[in-house]
Symmetry: C2
């Protein structure tokens, strides 16, 4: 190697912060050399110059994300496998430096999910051209974790299975009134109306998604049964039989769980039921600062200790918590594969830097679900006096083919 | 009515503290009158004298429990139904007076579940003559919530179904090593060894229960496979594949969850699985002071926000939380009915005051599960790197007859 002593010091520091993973870290001029010898290390990260190295040492995650996106950092090898291994090593790495922690804290403040802040945050991600999302989501445009009854199910089928799974969990009955908080492009609201005979009020603050959802309702002849409302969850009013929220809690933000809790309780009272589906964690931890800056401003993935207080003030009973972490890994495998086949189209739409940033977001999320850094929780709950509670959960698995024996184990790595 | 003004004032105060339930409250000399008129109020509580009334006003729950036990308070009508209605009204009653709160706090201190304190607390309840428990438990002596695949299942079958349900949840495999923390009379440990081919180390600090369990192991030829150890859960050592604890967390005490958390993590590491089954609540609330004084010293039923920190420090993944509250109500219906048919035997054993105290404990618990004051949680979890996680939960319901349609709803009242 031909590193200067500063570069060597920075390299050692960066690797130590990451828990000393078995990767090569090289600056541009050495990269060619490295690739010709030492086959023992599977992945090489090539950094453009010494300035990038210094940035990595100061705020590793943010510098890596931005450097990877603008091409000053290159990962030679499988990106997802690299990120997954990195995440496992990072658990034993050093705590983030003061600068990175300060930046993370600051991001949290400026992206606070107030009524106004939420609009800005949601606009950034969900108001992107729908044609872009059509390239890699399923045909119903469900942008949340799917449920694969068997590991070989298609993404299309798994998204339908997920919608049925959550509807069964709250035992929707024909004629009931349901609120859908954070309805995306409307797939779940339409599914509930069509297949469970309920009336739905669906809320979302993404203008583009609401416009799309209304068109879909019209196309399917469900406009009379499903109302898509462009408004904040805090403005949900009126009594409903059930409260559904699939993939919105991540955008509520820890500081606003009390408001969210009050909205749920005033919606279902002491007699209704509900379900909240969200990305969580095994223990409290800040959400990736790079993701918060570039992909999901204001996002947070809570631990169960943090989310239990959503239910407790209203005397709501938690009935069922299911962890579907590996189902999200599989969902992301599908999304990433479809994204990769559409790279030319996405490049035309948004340019190469966007492609690399979104590849990192999708691969990083996949790696996080595989390594256990992220979990996916579905929590079914009911008001304290609710009588419509199934005696057992067997009804969730009726009419569903049991998974083949070899598919019954969830493997942490592929 | 013929109350003195003091008695009227005390009566109004007591009823207000209880949320003004629709009951009659009378002192001895008026009781006969009351029973002849006013058929509109279903239950009458007859109090022996004015002193008892004053005690009820000062510390209602403790006074009621002790007064009911020693016969100075009489409930005319169905005891369980009365308690259930009372509990519903009490939710809107006044906060306990300073004296009752102080007494509750003091009980918590003197009955702290230290290693020494736990021995004393457990001895009080579980070292009672086994012949007493044989009168009203199932034949395998399972003293925890059963699992009724259908509401009509027998108690005997429902206790076996519960043991299978928890074993399936942790996917026990032949040859694995399992620890059972708080093993009671040994039924689960023996069931796991016999039907799942695992080796079990089972811990309990009740001497009488351990003696009984060892005899059972010998009788069933399982002494080589199941070791019953008379020791505190804090002294569990060695690596195991799975950690089971059914009905012990209630006796660990909130102040000792960190110790409990460390024991679990050092037992299963990052690769094992486990299950904790316990009586909980919708939100944090002190455990009944009378129960803590007379029946279960040191007991506490935690909310999920309080128990999540058992798993978080060890980076354990919560995989599945199931609320079986109404299954405990049904279990208690069976226990109470068997207890009532054995009242003469119990009176011979321990006298009439014991009978009344235990009737109140069983009926009060049944009422609490029916009214939602208590919940029953089973939490299945795994180490962060565990790969033995089922893909879905369908396997829990294979080979099990789905409940008949009319049995699928859990009703909060019978």
């Amino acid at each position: 190697m031909n590193f200067s002593s500063t570069e060597q010091w920075l390299t050692r520091k960066i690797l130590r912060m990451a828990g000393n993973p078995p990767f090569q870290l090289a600056v541009g001029r050495d990269a060619a050399d490295l690739m010709t010898n030492d086959g023992s290390k599977s992945t090489t990260v090539v950094v453009s110059d010494r300035r990038m190295l210094a940035k990595l040492a100061l705020d590793p995650e943010m510098a890596f994300g931005d450097g990877y996106s603008d091409g000053r950092i290159e990962v030679r090898g499988d990106l997802t496998a690299f990120l997954e291994e990195l995440m496992r090593f990072m658990q034993s790495g050093e705590k983030a430096a003061w600068y990175a922690r300060l930046r993370s804290w600051w991001l949290d403040r400026v992206n606070d999910n107030t009524t106004r802040g939420s609009r800005k945050n949601i606009h950034r991600h969900y108001d992107l051209n729908v044609d872009f999302y059509k390239l890699w989501l399923d045909k119903r445009m469900v942008y949340t974790c799917a449920y694969f009854p068997t590991t070989g199910a298609t993404l299309e089928d798994a998204q339908v299975a997920k919608m049925d799974h959550v509807c069964r969990k709250v035992q929707l009955q024909p004629g009931e009134k349901v609120v859908d908080a954070g309805c995306g492009w409307g797939a779940l609201a339409l599914h509930m109306a069509k297949h469970y005979g309920v009336t739905v009020r669906a809320f979302n603050i993404s203008h583009e998604q609401i416009v799309y959802a209304r068109e879909q309702a019209k196309r399917e002849g469900l406009s009379g049964q499903v109302e898509f409302i462009e408004d904040d969850y805090r403005n949900i009013s009126g009594r409903q039989d059930a409260f559904m929220s699939v993939g919105m809690l991540e955008h509520v933000g820890l500081r606003h769980y009390e408001e969210f809790s009050r909205v749920i309780h005033r919606t279902i009272g002491d007699w209704g039921r509900g379900l909240v589906h969200f990305i969580g964690r095994n223990y409290p931890h800040p959400f990736s600062p790079w993701m918060r800056k570039r992909i999901f401003p204001g996002a947070y993935a809570p631990a169960l200790s943090e989310v239990a207080p959503v239910f407790e003030p209203g005397n709501l009973s938690v009935l069922d918590v299911e962890n579907l972490r590996m189902h999200y890994a599989k969902t992301l495998e599908h999304w990433l594969a479809r994204f990769e086949t559409s790279v030319d189209r996405v490049t035309q739409m948004f340019g190469p830097e966007f492609v690399r940033a979104w590849r990192l977001y999708l691969a990083g999320s996949l790696a996080a679900f595989r390594s256990g850094g992220l979990q996916l929780f579905q929590i079914a709950f009911a008001g304290a006096n609710c009588r419509q509670i199934p005696w057992t959960r067997a009804h969730l698995y009726e009419d569903i083919q049991p998974a083949a024996k070899e598919e019954k184990w969830m493997h942490a790595t592929p």
